[in-house]
């Protein structure tokens, strides 16, 4: 054998050996860079899987556009098309979103399966919308089909909402759906009153989030006092009012209402009969016409006008007596 050939054989073997080692290391690194890579379909499409997913997506949109009414048959077809797209590109968010919306009416389990695939994909796992949509689909199913497995579905929807609330960028309105589902679950499993359960769950949820976040995601918290957004406050107040109207003699309802008022409405004045807010100088509640405890007026019986200041009355100049803090 010629010397040059021996050198070539050595170079060939060395290059092959090194290349195998480098390729193995690159394959390992690929999975670190993109954990979805092993999930990609093994279809012989060279490097064009993602491009093919786009083509399939356009075809699926055409198909969806041609459907007047979703049926069992076309739902199955759409499900198969959506799965093909996701196999080619597991991070395709719109494929999860649009196809699960299309399938939710006739085949909710198909929609949930797709959304679960999205939740498992590294590029969409932190998207709260996929969890929220799954929760909503389960809720819709419970609403339209009263079945024996409703409690299981309800619990599943609670878990979806819980997951969604732990994701970044989640909208606060989802808290409402989560709490309502929790209350519904208590109503279905233990027979608790729905409104009271809802208020109890709100209180539990807010206590946990304030405790867990230190100062609380809803604002500052001080000892025994929770700070929440205005929307949540008005939601809670409306719940308290409903409990008062529908379950006026329920001790549990009264107890949780008092607890919530103490924790959340320390700085605002509420009529204890109808739980509506009243303002400085009001003598009667403008909702239920019952007398309320007057505040924010000059302590002098001759003046008794509504005051703005904290030290002296701007009408008579007398020293303002600070009212005792309400318990």
């Amino acid at each position: 054998m010629k010397k040059s050939n021996i050198i070539k054989v050595i170079i060939l073997l060395l290059a092959l050996g090194l290349n195998v080692k480098t390729l193995k290391s690159l394959h390992a690194e690929q999975v670190v860079i993109n954990a979805d890579r092993p999930k990609i379909s093994k279809l012989p499409l060279a490097s064009f899987h993602k491009f093919w997913a786009d083509i399939q997506w356009m075809l699926m949109i055409q198909h969806m556009g041609s459907i007047d009414l979703t049926t069992e048959q076309n739902s199955k077809e759409l499900y198969s098309e959506a799965n093909t797209i996701i196999d080619l590109d597991p991070g395709f968010y719109k494929a999860y979103e649009i196809s699960s919306l299309m399938l939710s009416a006739k085949k909710p389990q198909f929609a949930i399966n797709l959304l679960k695939r999205g939740q498992a994909s590294v590029h969409t796992t932190n998207d709260w919308r996929l969890y929220s949509m799954a929760g909503n689909i389960r809720q819709q199913e419970i609403f339209f089909n009263k079945g024996p497995d409703n409690l299981t579905k309800l619990r599943e929807s609670i878990e979806f909402y819980r997951e969604a609330l732990n994701k970044p960028g989640v909208i606060s309105v989802l808290e409402k759906s989560f709490i309502k589902s929790l209350a519904q679950e208590r109503f279905e499993s233990k027979g608790d009153k729905l409104l009271i359960s809802e208020l109890q769950e709100w209180f539990k949820h807010l206590s946990q989030s304030n405790y867990m976040n230190g100062e609380g995601e809803h604002g500052n918290s001080t000892e025994g006092y929770m700070s929440v957004s205005e929307e949540v406050k008005s939601e809670l107040l409306s719940l308290i009012q409903k409990i008062k109207q529908e379950h006026p003699n329920d001790s549990k309802g009264r107890a949780i209402s008092d607890k919530v008022i103490k924790a959340l409405f320390k700085d605002i004045h509420i009529c204890f009969r109808c739980f509506h807010e009243y303002h400085k100088g009001d003598k009667y509640c403008n909702e239920c016409s019952k007398p309320v405890k007057i505040f924010g007026v000059c302590s002098s019986p001759d003046c008794a006008k509504v005051i703005r200041g904290h030290k002296f009355c701007e009408h008579c100049g007398k020293h303002v007596v600070k009212p005792k803090r309400r318990k």
């Binding site: 195998v20 690929q30 860079i33 060279a46 993602k50 491009f51």
Partner: protein, 235 residues
């Protein structure tokens, strides 16, 4: 070394003198730009389509360019040009390396032109491209070396049409051999990071370096292997 560059340069000059190359490059860039118009049809996912089309076209353009070698070498061998060249004090291995370097330069030049066009269109439409996007494009350009070496191998002993067909199949399956059976001697899938570019995954510099190293190693091993066959041929 001078002989290698002379052969490479001659191939470069010959291929890039053809005006059709620039026309097709412009067509590829125009196609990438047109994808923006598919925004409604894609329900707002035209960015997806633009990135995927760009990566697809750059890969196809590179593939087609390197496959032109499958016509070049057998033609030179048949017409006797290669025999004249090899009669000079020029080793057959040098001839092969020259061809590989030349075709790689041409394909890299065309791929870079389309990549620049794509980056400009993307930048104007969706804002500055991410570092991952640029790195993924560089990886596609690296993939030209192993692609060209495969074509070099088949064109050293097959006639034009057969060499071109088999080379295309070999390149096509080069992206899937690892996924299909864990084959790790020849693998082009390591150069395909278009999904990672779109989702802005962190393609590390080390990955880029290793991929470049692998491309060169594939080139070297294929040239060595091809030279055994080519040296045995009676020209």
């Amino acid at each position: 070394m001078d002989e290698i560059f002379a052969i490479a340069h001659s191939l470069w000059k010959r291929l890039l003198a053809a005006k059709v190359v620039y026309f097709l490059t412009l067509c590829a860039i125009a196609l990438i730009g047109i994808t923006k118009m598919y925004d409604v049809l894609m329900i707002g996912e035209s960015r997806n389509l633009m990135v995927d089309t760009a990566f697809m076209l750059i890969t196809v353009a590179s593939m087609l360019t390197v496959i032109s070698l499958a016509f070049d070498i057998p033609k030179e061998l048949q017409s006797g040009i290669a025999s004249v060249l090899l009669a000079k004090p020029l080793g057959r291995t040098h001839y092969l390396i020259g061809k590989l370097v030349g075709i790689s330069w041409v394909a890299m030049f065309i791929a870079t032109l389309i990549s620049i066009g794509f980056l400009i269109i993307y930048g104007v439409t969706y804002g500055a491209p991410s570092a991952s996007m640029i790195k993924a494009l560089i990886l596609v350009i690296f993939s030209i070396i192993p692609m060209a070496s495969v074509v070099l191998f088949f064109s050293s002993f097959l006639n034009e049409a057969v060499a071109a067909t088999i080379s295309t199949i070999a390149i096509w399956f080069g992206y899937m051999l690892f996924a299909m059976n864990g084959f790790t001697v020849y693998d082009l899938s390591v150069f395909n990071m278009s999904a990672e570019a779109f989702y802005d995954d962190n393609i590390t510099n080390m990955y880029l370096l290793k991929a470049a190293f692998s491309a060169v190693l594939t080139g070297i091993s294929m040239v060595c292997f091809t030279s055994f066959i080519f040296n045995k041929r009676d020209l």
